[in-house]
Symmetry: C2
Subunit: 355 residues, 2 copies
């Protein structure tokens, strides 16, 4: 039985086994310090004593002494458990949890960092990360300083989703949006469309840039002309007008949430999708939109990304130093043929409905 409170320490175990505390620690932390250490009978006595006392390491002490806690921090820029269940981030976390369990790690969510307007700020709160061995980060964010901050510490971390910084190599597990987008656009060209529009978010964040790049690759390969349209803040109808004005018979839409609205607007005008207009999404359509359309486009391997980030973090913790290449990983996306893209209609009137 342990000391005064409920918990046995290594010292308790040592006393019971008739050895020193250091020996107990040695046995528990294997012979990673080079030579194989303790004798078999001593080891057994100690292990027995551990069983008898019910000893389990105090993680705080382990951490303080420079050991590992097997705690993986998770920082999300949005709430971990959002109230509306159409939750884009959930699948990432499914992967994170599964992988953490497999590796025997606990997950520490930094909910203490105050959130403003539903978005959490990393900022100085990053100091709190320190309990964990390392940290996985998730969510859309725009503050490049976070990255520089993180890189400047020696604190191990891994982003879910590609992130770049001037300050160094950002470890991440991303999805190959470039290739996926290229393939989707290629498919539209292959269906016979002369031009394929890119309608979406034109900001310079990585997810947007990657998609734009894949788009341009495909357009170039098809010897077509790029039509890049800013879809920010547009309603479905406005976006449809924009496509129409440019005489487009096909377009990829990013972020994907806009796609169902465009389709709805098109249907309302008596147009058909994909009969009159082919649409493809560049990521997951958030949720069962009414009708449950099987969208042409690609699917982000969210669970695998989550799991991969935890694994990447873990490898940084235990293995030898990783090369810059090994720190940045991309997973392929699944291309979904879907039913919202087809060959262009014979006649495409300039105004497919009420304007």
């Amino acid at each position: 039985m342990p000391g005064t409170n409920g918990r046995a320490t290594q010292a308790d175990v040592a006393r019971l086994a008739g050895v020193s505390q250091a020996t107990v620690s040695l046995i528990l932390n294997g012979g990673d310090t080079g030579r194989r250490r303790v004798g078999e009978q001593t080891r057994q006595r100690v292990l027995d004593a551990i069983r008898m006392t019910g000893y389990v390491a105090n993680p705080a002490a382990q951490r303080l002494a420079g050991g590992r806690t097997r705690i993986v921090g998770v920082f999300t820029y949005e709430p971990v458990f959002p109230r509306d269940s159409r939750d884009f981030y959930h699948p990432f976390l499914v992967g994170v949890e599964a992988q953490a369990e497999e590796l025997g790690c606990d997950l520490l969510f930094f909910t203490s960092t105050p959130s403003r307007q539903g978005r959490r700020l990393l900022g100085d709160g990053s100091r709190r990360l320190g309990v964990a061995d390392g940290c996985v980060l998730l969510g859309r964010h725009d503050d490049k300083r976070d990255l520089a901050d993180l890189l400047s510490r020696d604190f191990p971390f891994a982003f879910i989703g590609r992130r770049e910084s001037d300050a160094g190599t950002v470890p991440y597990v991303g999805a190959d949006y470039v290739t996926a987008t290229r393939e989707v656009v290629e498919r539209l060209f292959a269906l016979g469309h002369e031009r394929v529009g890119f309608l979406g978010d034109l900001r310079r964040d990585e997810p947007s840039v990657d998609r734009a790049q894949g788009y341009h690759q495909a357009v170039r390969a098809a010897r077509s002309r790029p039509v890049v349209l800013d879809g920010t803040g547009l309603t479905g109808g406005e976006a449809l007008d924009l496509l129409d004005d440019n005489g487009l018979t096909a377009a990829v839409v990013w972020p994907s949430g806009l796609a169902p609205q465009i389709r709805a607007a098109a249907l309302a005008r008596g147009m058909s999708v994909p009969g009159d207009l082919s649409l493809a999404q560049l990521g997951d359509v958030e949720d069962g939109s009414p009708g449950d359309i099987d969208w042409t486009g690609f699917r982000i391997p969210r669970e695998q990304m989550g799991a991969g980030a935890v694994r990447l973090l873990f490898e940084q913790l235990v293995g030898p130093a990783l090369s810059a290449d090994a720190l940045q990983r991309s997973l392929p996306c699944d291309i979904v043929p879907g039913t919202t893209a087809a060959a262009p209609g014979r006649t495409r009137s300039r105004s497919g409905g009420v304007r």
Copy 2:
């Protein structure tokens, strides 16, 4: 700038401010040790130094030295992020997260405890809880030893959902299923049903016991006769037969998942709900079942329970010792009138359909 690695310590701050480390600690942990301590100008110098160094406490050290970490542990008997999204536990966690954020606490999920068949075992892993100041527990479980274990340590915790143990007063935030069930059953009697059946899980776990108790209270008050039927493992059709055999025109169903199946079976036999049979559920119907019926019954205040458990835990941590009464809290459930209960039909044939 701190020492060798990335992180400033109290010693760094102290050096910069020209005081001792203890003074820094004193300033940070207020004058809770009795007398008011440091002078105003010293305090300012130290606070400035803290700002300059960007010092943030190392939680591991705080914990080891007997302080608080503002980390709340969360132990769930099921995965925190289940793959199928019809997720009963999600709303609890929404509440937990919101409350933790409000209190400025981080959330540590004990994913390291291995799970067998999708269920996590607490068992000895409970020792790992120790990094956190306390722990919130969630999920259906049957091992009474967990509770005894937890109670025997000095470790503060709070259950989401009522739990009882011979070993002492289990702190929890539950829902008042007794009252809610009674009111729902009363409502069915008030509609004119002579007898109301209780179809469900007859095990001795707290949620089931509470519902059974509420049921019996209502039956007694209505001077009716209890009809308690074991619905374990039944299909909708079998359950319907069972109700039919007992000549029931109304029943409450627990767990609620069975209710939609019974209704479906009834409709398939040409019966009407609530025309021929009134049904009510005793908890949340898991998910948008086809048709999206507005079920008669009650709703569990899951978010509030989650938040309440965190608050209960917090009060144990900071406040004075709580009385047994204050450790066990029940929240009222919302009664939902719904559309699946009505007055009994005039004629109720013994066999409402194909047998």
